[in-house]
Symmetry: C2
Amino acid sequence: MSIQEESLAMHAAHRGKLEIASRVPLETVADLSLAYTPGVAEACKVIAKDPSRVWDLTMRGRSVAIVTDGSAVLGLGNIGVEAGLPVMEGKAVIYKKFADVDAWPILIDSQDASVIVETVKHIAPTFGAIHLEDIAAPRCFEVEERLMRELDIPVLHDDQHATAVVVLAGLLNALRVAGKSIEDVRIVISGAGAAGLANAHLLLDADAMHIRVLDTKGVIVPGRPEGMNPYKEAVAKRVFEKDGSDWGANLQGVLRGADVFLGVSQPGLLQAKDIATMAPKAIVFALSNPTPEIMPEEALAGGAMVVATGRSDFPNQVNNALVYPGIFLGALEGRRKSFSPEAKIAAAKAVANMISHPTRDEILPSVFAPGLSRIVADAVKAV
Amino acid sequence: MSIQEESLAMHAAHRGKLEIASRVPLETVADLSLAYTPGVAEACKVIAKDPSRVWDLTMRGRSVAIVTDGSAVLGLGNIGVEAGLPVMEGKAVIYKKFADVDAWPILIDSQDASVIVETVKHIAPTFGAIHLEDIAAPRCFEVEERLMRELDIPVLHDDQHATAVVVLAGLLNALRVAGKSIEDVRIVISGAGAAGLANAHLLLDADAMHIRVLDTKGVIVPGRPEGMNPYKEAVAKRVFEKDGSDWGANLQGVLRGADVFLGVSQPGLLQAKDIATMAPKAIVFALSNPTPEIMPEEALAGGAMVVATGRSDFPNQVNNALVYPGIFLGALEGRRKSFSPEAKIAAAKAVANMISHPTRDEILPSVFAPGLSRIVADAVKAV
């Protein structure tokens, strides 16, 4: 049986993966009078008098809404919100396993940014944080920005920022392996969607100076007449302010002499001969999933020193599950109202530091690394 | 330590009562590839192709949203939506314990009917049914009606219908104890809010012929100039169509010679001498909580044959938890799109039949009665 068949059978056998559980006993009438009426009225009254007590008397301080509109699920695209539910359940069980965070999927039956924002705002009181998931660009930027502005709990689009944090963690260790520094390297990002733009922002925040971001029309440049949006403009502006030199206009052009290729775009974009034009000790993150921009063996054949993918069957898996449980745990425990760039960089450094001696085959810890989420959470809280 | 203090300490110790759990193992990389990528993509694709598969491949078919706006929490009133969360968590752990249904609180930060309706509509795809809770009348009627019309999953306001089902169950057995039949008895309902009106409708559906419903202004009569609303009008119309005779206009008047008093109104409304004016073998359901319309010992002193309250420290507790887990379980298992009056009556009869020989001190089963939710669910599915 293939993994796909086995997974489908498992989903059918358990009718999904997520369920609820009680933290208190319910075996006797006395138990019921504590968990429910008449005893429960006391917790209600205390919160009514002092709403801040909701954080220690209820589930709110442990709870995250995993919100999606189903528009960019895995590499499958806009498959509809119900078809995204197995992914959201998976995200939730990972939260519980790795960070003891209680997350619940919220599928929204609209792909209109205003509807998503209004709906999430109105259900926010149950939750301590909002995890946006698999929402297509550029809608995801607007939804996240507006919710961050309008809610006083942290909001984070996993596909943008958790990916960016793991990439930064992996890149920091890959640079150690290659003996290069983030301020000096030339970084080419292929893909100007949710992940590509968030990666560019976080790398710039983490002192990268030389970046080019490309979409299907080539390098994104401030004021480019075609295929831009305000979010691409903002990244292009930051990137060209740091390094305004001419790298060329297309992928092959900018790749020549580059130190880092970061692909969050499409399968089979590159060949070994493209990698061969990069600087010595090139670093290749080919994160298109399940089929990378270039397969690891080809990238290595082209001379890459370190190769990472999104897949679990090759070394160096860039997996959001390395960071999102810990980041949200830290934000919940620290009662954060938002995630700052500094918190994301701290989380990335904490993940990177889990590997004391990085090698070309080990730049990132396993999601099963003991204490991972605790370490990430503490790093977020320390900022 | 009082129950209230003990309950508060328990809520603080556990930070609420509800958490999530995984139905699948997550111990190895292989487990992760089944619960999450790459395996999970298969369930997504299958649902994208055939959306009906969401019911057997995900949590949806087991999931209920417990939705409140915090406007009528317990007997505490409009205490705000966050202060209602301990009650919603209690409802959810009862669901899990008694029916293995996975329910999640959804607190809505608005008391505008349209906002509540739109918000619930937009998050409905995660859930197999919508349980409305503690929403004040008359808003609860509009919210429920509109959601029933606009969603293709069952919607039920617990405070109205679960109460009505338990009352009907208890009344059927109380009538057996008194040797009277539902078609013959005169029933006085004090309270024309959520529970009072729903009780009137369900009793009429169950063949009661002689009912009067009162609010603070007296008997509700079609076209009464003051304090009416469309929901009271509808009940008044049904009631007077069945029995148009003159019972009097106030509580003391209509109570004279009545067989059943059903109070869902306010503490201390009646005295023993009022009960003494009722027909012999009177039945008194004094459900104002925690302080009943009349205390059981007073009602008995006035000559009542059977007395029920909402409290666990007297015999015959009318407790919604007797029916809501089973009713929703049946609706979920039977993929019902709504709850019909017939389903509610079937549920009430199933609960009543749990007691083979009702006595004045035992007209309703305990919530811990083995198989209760299963029996209620099967009754709902058999309709």
